[in-house]
């Protein structure tokens, strides 16, 4: 009973917390809301006219939406990058910020589900895909698997984050018997969401570009580059703007791990490129279209090379200790690797998979204005979710926002103990 009352108070207090902020907060949230509004407006048009106002056609039947979806699944999976060392090796500095990774995963998953929803032709029939209510073609369809694992992963992360914050709010120590198994479960779950998403393409024999056994490993390798890249920048922003204590050591450690995954990612890409070009079968056309263009169609070529070059540059910046420990080059590297993976796992994966189409036709797909606006709206939604979670989580993690303290009024927070974190609050 008591905890139930606490829970509703927690929810209410959090809501109140979200409504109050400085003008930068309002401006940022306002900006996101404006973008979301644009997205909603564009999506309304799409709903009434149909997906014909996208530039997808029978020849290229998936595009920008599914590309972003794929990329964001990778971002969501990357939370594991922080969870593994934190819980398996009990490595303190990273442990503090694991909760941020989980919140990032939640936001990414919200965007993933958004991109799937806007991509389907009959969103009014979404209930057909709900297990037990509709008619899920499981286990045959990989998309059915994806629906299940993505939602479970979302639920898992949401629960862990909420539970940890609630414990901090009530100033009780979390029950390790609940949290640890769930966090450990989230490790294979993170691997599985990205693996299943890779298999979704991988299993399609009709599209040789996707039908490669190293597709899933490549997905994981690239996710372990892009996810932490976002996090690294975020951590720096957070420790500047809040009192959250994040050590240099933690950041450099993540950067070092990234260097390895980036190297591995490049190696896997090279393996794929070698196989295609050296054997030179009829399946070569797809990678040719990506890197060199085909019959004068060269839309993807600059993007493909940009992805390779930025990936290579970022790898070097992260590999060399001096540039890895320099804030400017470190952040530059983060941006470069983010761009590289965004191209590679978005348009660079979906479009050449479908071009030329199964009957050899080349249709040069470029996203339409509607697609761009809808995508912007979904990204804004994801950012908004993350912003709001952060807004609530940071004070809780710092011990500034608890059931007791909010009574004393939030305007005079006591100097917080820097050793406090979500996982180590003691009453």
């Amino acid at each position: 009973m008591d905890s139930l009352r606490n829970l509703s108070r927690f929810a209410l207090d959090t809501l109140r917390l979200l409504l109050v902020g400085n003008r930068y907060y309002y401006a940022w949230v306002g900006f996101l809301l404006a973008l979301i509004l644009c997205g909603v407006f564009a999506y309304t048009g799409q709903l009434s006219q149909g997906l014909i106002i996208s530039n997808m056609r029978d020849q290229v039947s998936w595009g920008f939406y599914i590309g972003n979806f794929t990329f964001l699944v990778g971002v969501a999976a990357a939370a594991i990058m922080l969870v593994i060392p934190a819980y398996i090796y009990d490595w303190e500095p990273i442990k503090e910020i694991t909760i941020l990774g989980e919140m990032l995963a939640i936001s990414a998953l919200v965007m993933c589900l958004g991109f799937v929803l806007v991509d389907i032709g009959r969103p009014d029939r979404f209930w057909h895909i709900i297990p037990l209510v509709g008619k899920l073609n499981w286990p045959a369809s990989l998309l059915a698997w994806d629906v299940i694992v993505l939602n479970l992963y979302l639920l898992l992360n949401w629960f862990v984050v909420t539970y940890l914050l609630f414990c901090a709010y009530t100033e009780r120590h979390y029950v390790k018997a609940i949290v640890l198994p769930l966090v450990l479960l989230s490790i294979p779950m993170a691997v599985s969401i990205h693996t299943v998403t890779a298999y979704l393409y991988n299993g399609i024999a009709a599209r040789p570009f996707w039908n490669s056994a190293i597709l899933a490993p490549r997905f994981l390798a690239s996710a372990f580059c892009s996810g932490p890249a976002i996090l690294l920048i975020l951590l720096q922003v957070l420790r500047k703007t809040t009192k959250l204590r994040i050590t240099d050591e933690a950041i450099f450690k993540i950067a070092e791990l990234m260097a390895y995954t980036m190297g591995f990612n490049l190696f896997l890409t090279a393996a794929e490129v070698f196989k295609e070009f050296y054997s030179g079968t009829e399946h070569l056309v797809f990678i040719q279209y990506l890197f060199f263009g085909l019959k004068g169609h060269t839309t993807l070529v600059p993007f493909a090379w940009a992805s390779i070059l930025t990936g290579l540059a970022a790898f070097l910046l992260f590999l060399i200790p001096r540039t890895r420990k320099n804030w400017i080059t470190l952040n530059l590297g983060c941006l470069l690797i983010y761009a590289s993976v965004y191209i590679e796992k978005g348009m660079g994966l979906i479009i050449p998979g479908l071009t030329p189409d199964v009957l050899g036709e080349i249709y040069e797909y470029r996203p339409s204005v509607t697609e761009a606006f809808v995508a912007a709206g979904i990204f804004a939604t994801g950012f908004l979710v993350f912003t709001l979670m952060l807004k609530a989580a940071v004070p809780v993690m710092l011990g500034e926002f608890t059931a007791r303290r909010r009574l004393g009024g939030g305007s005079h927070p006591e100097p917080s103990d820097h050793n406090h974190s979500a996982r180590e609050v003691t009453p």
């Binding site: 029978d58 998936w62 032709g121 009014d124 073609n137 369809s141 024999a205 009709a206 056309v285 036709e361």
Partner: protein, 309 residues
């Protein structure tokens, strides 16, 4: 078959079928939200709650057919029959196309569009004819889909029409997340246009480009409407769902040839029952050199190409 099913929900659920199943409850719960999502208007609650065709009882199907016929009559201003002719016993359909005779005149493409009520705008065509050079053989990378000379065949070229291959191991059926497409006992792969969610995974999975999406509201002049239709075949389709060749299910289940076979001026198209040793299709398989398109994908098509000469 599942016995529980959502009632018409127009306030009339007195049937005393026991407690409402969780399907009804959950489906009704999401109904409001989805109604808003779909832009409401045209979507009736009955249509929204309609279940997968294969889970429907006979009387439910009859109700749906009546509803569809009413809807089509209102839309096109003339009576449309929506049938559900069942597969015949001991029949598995097969198709063979004579590559040495096809001249690429596209009569089949357009006969198919008329017979099967395909959208004229945005254009949907279930058959695609490729023009290829004789010297290069069957290689789609050099195929010309948009050839338009004064007369065909053009010197040095051959023509290869492609449509649904009605695979025995159909990738489209395998990947569909909601079971909206399946293979019937007579070997025809069909789509329930009222269950498809439009995710287009099947289009990515089909090696033959046989699946087509209604990107916009399909436009079909009432004057050109074929009013003799089948629920799983050529009835007018809604926006946002996938459609495909059904071997003219509305014709072939009545013993007629598919429209493409009937129109072909060169007699390149052969159709029949694979289970009947005396059928045309079996004669082709036994006496002609046959090849399967993209055989390496192991889709086991029931659509064969052969060289009749």
């Amino acid at each position: 078959m599942n016995a529980s099913h959502p009632g018409p929900c127009s306030g009339s659920c007195p049937g005393g079928e026991g407690t409402p199943g969780r399907r009804e409850f959950l489906a009704a719960a999401v109904a409001g939200m989805a109604g808003a999502l779909a832009g409401c208007g045209k979507l009736s609650m009955e249509e929204f709650l309609q279940r997968n065709f294969r889970e429907l009882a006979k009387d439910e199907i009859q109700k749906i057919l009546l509803r569809l016929e009413k809807e089509y009559r209102a839309k096109f201003g003339k009576p449309v029959r929506v049938g559900i002719e069942e597969p015949m016993q001991g029949v598995v359909f097969g198709y063979a196309l004579d590559l040495s005779r096809c001249i690429g005149c596209r009569r089949c493409v357009h006969a198919c569009v008329r017979e099967n009520n395909q959208s004229r705008d945005p254009q949907i065509q279930w058959i695609r004819v490729m023009e290829m050079e004789k010297e290069l053989g069957v290689d789609v990378q050099h195929a010309n889909h948009y050839y338009d000379p004064a007369v065909v065949p053009r010197e040095g070229h051959f023509y290869m029409p492609v449509q649904c291959h009605q695979c025995r191991r159909a990738p489209c059926v395998k990947v569909c997340p909601v079971g909206a497409t399946w293979q019937e006992p007579d070997g025809i792969t069909v789509v329930d246009y009222n269950w498809c969610i439009g995710c287009r995974y099947c289009m990515a999975a089909c090696p033959y480009g046989a699946r087509h999406f209604n990107w916009g509201e399909p436009q079909l002049p009432a004057a050109e409407l074929n009013t003799e239709t089948h629920y799983l075949g050529n009835r007018p389709r809604p926006q946002g769902v996938v459609e495909k060749c059904t071997f003219c299910i509305q014709r072939t289940r009545k013993g007629l040839y598919p429209a493409c076979a009937e129109i072909c001026p060169t007699g390149s198209r052969k159709f029949g029952n694979l289970m009947d040793p005396k059928s045309e299709i079996r004669y082709v398989l036994e006496n002609k050199r046959v090849f399967l398109f993209k055989e390496d994908l192991n889709t086991k098509p029931k659509f064969y190409y052969f060289y009749g000469v």
